[in-house]
């Protein structure tokens, strides 16, 4: 019974294409996140949504657009993919406004995106 799931697990695509990564959590959490782990292994937050409302929007190119149809889903759509977008993307969720003092973040297994 997967708590935070992401699809696909691997994504290989050509430069210039548009792709989406889906994330679902069945923990009943109200806050969801997207992180990017780059080639240097840093985990950096990209976006955070609370009850379908955008809370955090880091300095991310506007080719990246998160969409939250409901509080259990947070999808990431990427337009005009570039070589530098190659990374592992992690979805996560937590049960409050991202304040981890009382609740921690639960991560999905990651999506490895390779742009050729």
């Amino acid at each position: 019974d997967t708590a935070v799931s992401q699809t696909p697990k691997y994504l290989v695509t050509q430069m210039g294409n548009d792709k989406s990564i889906k994330c679902e959590q069945n923990l009943g959490h109200d806050t969801m996140y997207w992180y990017k782990q780059d080639s240097k292994k840093f985990l950096k937050i990209m976006f955070s949504y609370n009850n379908k409302e955008l809370i955090i929007n880091e300095t991310v190119p506007n080719r990246f657009s998160p969409k939250s149809p409901d509080k259990a889903h947070l999808n990431l759509h990427i337009n005009s993919l570039e070589l530098g977008d190659s990374a592992v993307y992690f979805c996560a969720s937590s049960s409050n406004l991202g304040r981890v003092r009382s609740d921690t973040q639960y991560f999905g297994p990651g999506t490895r995106l390779t742009v050729l």
């Binding site: 935070v4 809370i55 992690f90 981890v100 003092r101 973040q105 639960y106 999905g108």
Partner: protein, 112 residues
């Protein structure tokens, strides 16, 4: 601008011995610190946390120590087991922010 640093990319320890993973931070506003553990092809999982009002938190084999004056924290694993082999991420947050800053991780290998 690396606010959370883990200067040792890797560490090898014999089974049964103590593993000590170190983390330094630059932002004095951080008031909550966490350690996450990550196995290959999986997402990070929460391990242990500590508030800045404490200097030690213990959970079974895992203990986190915080030295605020040195802006340093460490994770001790005693005794180390082969199943502890993973990448360990140090992370920090501030009450007024809604985000967690992660370090680059330290890869721990526990040798049987």
């Amino acid at each position: 601008d690396q606010q959370v640093k883990q200067n040792s990319p890797s560490l090898s320890v014999q089974e049964g011995r103590i593993s000590i993973l170190n983390c330094d931070y630059t932002n004095s506003m951080f008031d909550y610190f966490l350690w996450y553990k990550k196995y290959p092809a999986e997402g990070p999982t929460f391990l242990i946390s500590i508030s800045s009002i404490k200097d030690k938190n213990e959970d079974g084999r895992f203990t986190v120590f915080l030295n605020k004056s040195a802006k340093h924290l460490s994770l001790h694993i005693v005794p180390s087991q082969p199943g502890d082999s993973a990448v360990y991420f140090c992370a920090a947050s501030v009450a007024s922010y809604d985000k967690v800053i992660f370090g680059p991780g330290t890869s721990l290998s526990v040798i049987p």
